[in-house]
Subunit: 333 residues, 2 copies
């Protein structure tokens, strides 16, 4: 991996803004960017159903600026964005079921606020660089594997439709208004600081909670293949993309060569923890309608462009995740 561009000197004094910066990925990014010398501000709404958690930022709380606000508050965004060099745009409603139950809220967060944010950039900070965190969810049920960036877009829920619209906004503001934007489509991202209270962010979160609490891991289906990225690898990818001029105006998948069935993943967790059991659950009908079967990503385009590839194996990720939550369980449940 070409880490030369990530040396600390590049980041000294760089003004970084992270929306959703108290969340799982956002907080990890805030820590790593701050360690490299960046001048970091995070925005987070701390909506209880989402991923924001102030404890996530504990290691850097004295070094960064934490602005608690909602990206839907259009007036507060302007002064926060005006002087920023790099915006890591991670805030969003991410629950698929919630988007189906309350599509309006998903629209206001994932589209309206995004459009407003880009308008502020266009008007008041056109030199900004933006890394937008998108999701493999927009591909829907794969027509082929691994899924690359040319795969057709078939969102299976309102969340996917809105995330894709937000991608298109970022692309359009690049093409028409010259804003440098790069879109990263994340696959399943896991690791310390993820939400484990429930399955709203990732099913692996609730599994970690179940195993640490001595409850059976509830596996829905089980045969589906998935790929996983450690949050540190995802953060590394975002930092790299933000420094590489060839990444702007483009869309990239992240992903992993390592793909496992859900059942295999559950068994890996049990082996690493030393105990645990699995309870196979029947898919409820409303979930079946949006089931996508197997999924894994090709990240060849991003690897070819930047040299990035995952540094951590799935086993390493699961081990350090279990360790983190063994130490901090009470904070996260």
């Amino acid at each position: 991996m070409d880490t030369a561009r990530l040396k600390s000197s590049t980041w000294e004094g760089t003004k970084v803004l992270i929306t959703g910066g108290a969340g799982f990925i956002g907080s990890t990014l805030a820590i790593r960017a701050s360690e490299r010398g960046a001048d970091v501000t995070v925005i987070d709404s701390l909506i209880p159903e989402y991923g924001g958690c102030l404890y996530n930022l504990d290691p850097v709380k004295s070094k960064i600026r934490i602005n608690l606000s909602d990206i839907r508050d259009s007036y507060s965004l302007r002064p926060l964005i005006e002087n920023v060099d790099i915006l890591f745009n991670l805030a969003g409603q991410t629950s698929h079921m919630d988007s189906m139950k309350d599509p309006h809220t998903d629209l206001t967060i994932n589209c309206m606020a995004q459009l407003n944010l880009l308008e502020i950039c266009r008007q008041f900070n056109p030199n900004i660089r933006i890394i937008f965190a998108s999701t493999r969810q927009i591909y829907g049920k794969p027509a082929y594997l691994p899924v690359d960036e040319n795969h057709s877009i078939n969102p299976v829920d309102i969340n996917g439709i809105h995330k894709y619209a937000a991608e298109l906004y970022h692309g359009l503001y690049g093409k028409v208004h010259g804003i440098r934007t790069c879109i990263l489509r994340l696959t399943n991202t896991i690791g310390p600081r993820m939400r484990i209270k429930d399955a709203k962010q990732t099913f692996v979160g609730i599994w970690v909670r179940q195993i640490l609490e001595g409850a059976p891991i509830e596996v829905w289906g089980g045969e589906q293949l998935r790929d996983f990225n450690d949050v540190e690898d995802v953060v590394q990818a975002m930092l790299i993309a933000s420094q590489d001029k060839n990444c702007f105006g483009k869309v990239f998948n992240l992903g992993s060569e390592e793909k496992v069935s859900l059942l295999k993943l559950a068994n890996m967790l049990i082996d690493l923890h030393g105990s645990g059991e699995i309870k196979i659950m029947a898919y409820p009908p409303e979930r079946k309608k949006i089931d996508i079967g197997d999924y894994h990503s090709s990240f060849a385009r991003f690897k070819d462009m930047t040299g990035w590839e995952p540094a951590l194996t799935l086993e390493q990720t699961l081990r350090r995740t279990l360790d983190y939550y063994s130490d901090h369980l009470s904070v996260y449940i």
Copy 2:
């Protein structure tokens, strides 16, 4: 064309709702549906910049219900939708330049109101049939010609992004909630009742005004190929689709075999009118960024499914359009 399904008996007592029903296509549809015996209600906001014009409905004003309201008014929609058999969903912000200047308004009309409308259908009228009027604009610059429904989606403006999101909503509410929705992607639609005050709806509108007022026709570029549908053919397509169960859950292009350059079209208008001149205009830079070059549609999928094809030639359309506006110019400028 299989006109059997369009015989009046099918329509007697059918409750039809048309959003944007005082507009160009909506009013023509209201007239034809009412003639067939349907019980027609139209909704229109009459926003001056859009296509709504009460005079358009003059031929049927005593036979239909005209409800002047904005589809963004969520509470008024429910009682209007609750007992409807067929919804022709035509209301929208359609100006591409306006969507770039004021993306927020485009979002509220083309996404938020659409989502709300579909939620009302899901909750209170799941047996409704919906024909959604979409646009060829979502394809962006063609990768090949004629453009069929498998062409990639590359919107060149905010309006295209939002129209595509609204398409995806309609598809999703079909797949997940069982609402019968059919999407028609319209190409350039022209004819009596189109907006001729300016080019907000179609450039052919302002050309008709210019030629009738003795001003030169302002042609931007001129070599670009386009296809055109007469509004009566488009209305026929919508009526057919609404009666054909095989059309639901699907997306269809409309279009024409006849494609002409803009310059040829301007000359056809001048020949039919008997006088006129052309002024070639240089493309302004902000327009050039979203220029798509040549465009024409394949409507083979819809023809194969329903037998529909355009009945009127471009010359017939232009002739009857000039006749209509010669008689009614003062009403429309």
